[in-house]
Subunit: 410 residues, 2 copies
């Protein structure tokens, strides 16, 4: 390389990226698994790490997907650019089937919850004070680090400038109102990674806090379809939530759309922020962002999502979810009977399993990989509050064999 | 609404959004057309505004799309999460067919050029000095306004903090090296809206400028497939460009994927930036961004894109493009023969048509709408440098009828 270029370069990078830990969690797991595969004699690995449904997609979805694909091949039914907020046919189905008090106009279709939960922070000031559950889905923290909303990573493994909300055995994994004032609050229910749903009481406390303190809640409901308890499925079941909360959902987990890519975000019209002497609609800000940066979601994919709301589609999706719920229950009960301390599994496909005393989560990850050939996720990957746990997914692999391998450890 | 909430709200919005002009260009056009439809007795409108190919998609694409859709319905061929940078099968096809000196690993698949061209700025510091052609695709400016990289909109209709690169009749619509130092340079070729491709000389000057001044070029090649002149189709045809340029492309225009959503971005490994005493790979920064914020592009859509590189797919795409090239030529020559001063059309489906003397572009837009029922785009929507022009697209509507209507104006 030209030395002159190196010495006098003027283009500057986004320095906030340098605050990120070097590897993305899933990349780090992949790397460790690859290294293990090299030294071990190609064991049969059971991957209980990634939250990827085993599939296949429902017949109704496939029918709609192929029919819509064919439409694009006929000049009479071809469709080009769609609306940046998604087709009305899908937004209406969601409003009718998923909500009591949300209109189609308050729904924005996206290519998945990950994009929305990552990009929503763009409509807020850099100066907002963040509250993020610990542990939680890594992107909540990482996208705010990238945007410059945090200070550097401290020696404690936490970022300066974030109010972490501990989710522990002691508080039943329910994030509590902090002492510090916060403006922008990430909540997920059922929570990834703990698999525990937030109770009506917890959500009511947070909605009341947000109303009183003029904060905004970014609510991640990616796993709502797995709830079997009486926990709320939507934050809008809580009185007043429409004035303070944005809700993000996905078809990835409920309908196996991880490879197809579709989700949605709800921003009620009554959610307003008073700032610098004016009242701002977050709905309008998000709409403007989408119109500028996005050209919407693939038409056949939106047709496929709409098929989930037909009589047949609903039935098929329900059966699919029931299978995962059953597997999660088996895994949870099996681990319990083997003496493990486990959480989640009831309202979620994830089991949050405590490591043996004094064993850190990466150590237990390595131990399980080497002795059972099971790939888990070390809890610390979801934040320092996750150390002492691993996350096990009931999505993909045979749970009985997984349990047998763990049983044979002793 | 609760008055207390309004008075003491603490969550702050991203104030930079307030610097944007109130309406997105295309929203403003839609609004005016809707108003016109209300007062006029439902005239047969010809929409020469939006850059949306008429379709339908090629048979090869439809076959691949439906076959991949069916794969997702079978548990043996189901695919969940794909790579965040796109499937290797597609990246390899692009590297082999579109480039001489780019590897599959330097290509990132996306859901379209709009997302990439909007999001790439995230990996750069807020402090970089921008250079943006005037006129140009509105998102180049708007996404940087949103990110806080500009000062407010001035009375001149331009933003403080941007070095505008005038593209005029006088310079043959070739953006020239400015007097001011700039770090981050947006270039598009063939340019939207002028329809003019940048010459080898122009691109060589810019690459040399970037190398000497350690700047980075964001090159938008969305319309490269329409080039019929000897203009370069890729910036990497210019010596040394791999050290200074990122290239964005799309299947939207070349293959009618506007409703299907697929494009790609090339970031060569040798494109490095020295900043704060360290050397940074832009490839690594973008990769990290994608891994955090995205779960990749829909699998059937990527299979559909890959089908464009089969023998049959190439032939079909070539024929489709030839149709648009022919229509653009007819529209261009027709307008010329009617006495209009027109540019573009040779390397692009867009005609950049000068308005009559002293007529502003919104005035001419209104005049055409009311007297010919033709929807155009006022040039000023692409920046102040676009005033005195309208953009006409040869994509969708019958060009002969369009010409007849314009002829009958006199």
């Amino acid at each position: 390389m030209n030395k002159e270029i190196i010495l006098f370069a003027m283009t500057k990078i986004n320095h906030h990226f340098q605050k990120l830990s070097k590897e993305d969690l899933f990349q780090e797991i992949e790397k460790r698994v690859a290294a293990y595969k090299e030294k071990a004699s190609t064991p049969h690995l059971l991957n209980l790490s990634v939250g990827d449904p085993a599939g296949p997609l429902c017949p109704s979805v496939i029918d709609a997907l192929t029919a819509a694909s064919k439409e694009l091949g006929d000049k009479n039914t071809f469709r080009g650019y769609g609306p940046s907020n998604g087709y009305l046919f899908l937004r209406e189905k969601i409003a009718q089937n998923e909500y009591k008090n949300i209109s189609a106009d308050e729904i924005f279709i996206s290519d998945g919850a990950s994009s929305d939960i990552s990009n929503l922070q763009e409509i807020f000031s850099i100066d907002n004070r963040l509250a993020i559950p610990d542990p939680s889905y890594p992107a909540y923290v990482d996208v705010n680090v990238m945007a410059g909303r945090t200070r550097p990573l401290l020696k404690t493994g936490k970022y300066g400038g974030i109010t972490y909300l501990p989710c522990t055995e002691e508080n039943n994994f329910q994030p509590e109102i902090p002492n510090a004032q916060v403006d922008l609050i990430y909540l997920s229910s059922p929570c990834n990674p703990t698999g525990v749903a937030l109770t009506k009481e917890t959500l009511t406390e947070w909605v009341n806090y947000a109303k009183k303190n003029h904060a905004v809640i970014l609510f991640d409901g990616t796993y709502e379809s797995f709830i079997t308890s009486t926990a709320p499925r939507s934050i809008y079941e809580i009185e007043g939530a429409k004035q303070v909360a944005i809700e993000v959902r996905s078809f990835s987990k409920s309908a196996g759309f991880t490879g197809l890519r579709c989700g949605y975000t709800v921003i009620p019209h009554e959610l307003k922020v008073q700032d610098a002497g004016a009242i701002h609609s977050l709905h309008a800000l998000w709409k403007r962002r989408l119109e500028t940066k996005s050209n919407g979601v693939s038409y056949p994919v939106q047709k496929a999502a709409a098929a989930l709301f037909t009589v047949e589609g609903k039935k098929e999706m329900k059966e699919m979810i029931a299978t995962y719920q059953e597997r999660a229950k088996t895994l949870l009960e099996g681990l319990k009977s083997l003496g493990y301390t486990v959480y989640g599994g009831v309202d979620s496909p994830y089991i949050w399993c405590k490591t043996p005393p004094k064993i850190h989560s990466w150590e237990f990850f390595n131990f399980l990989l080497e002795n059972t050939h099971i790939i888990s996720i070390p809890g610390v990957g979801f934040g320092m509050g996750g150390d002492g746990y691993i996350r096990l997914s009931a999505f993909a692999e045979p749970v009985i064999e997984s349990l047998t391998r763990i049983k044979n450890l002793a």
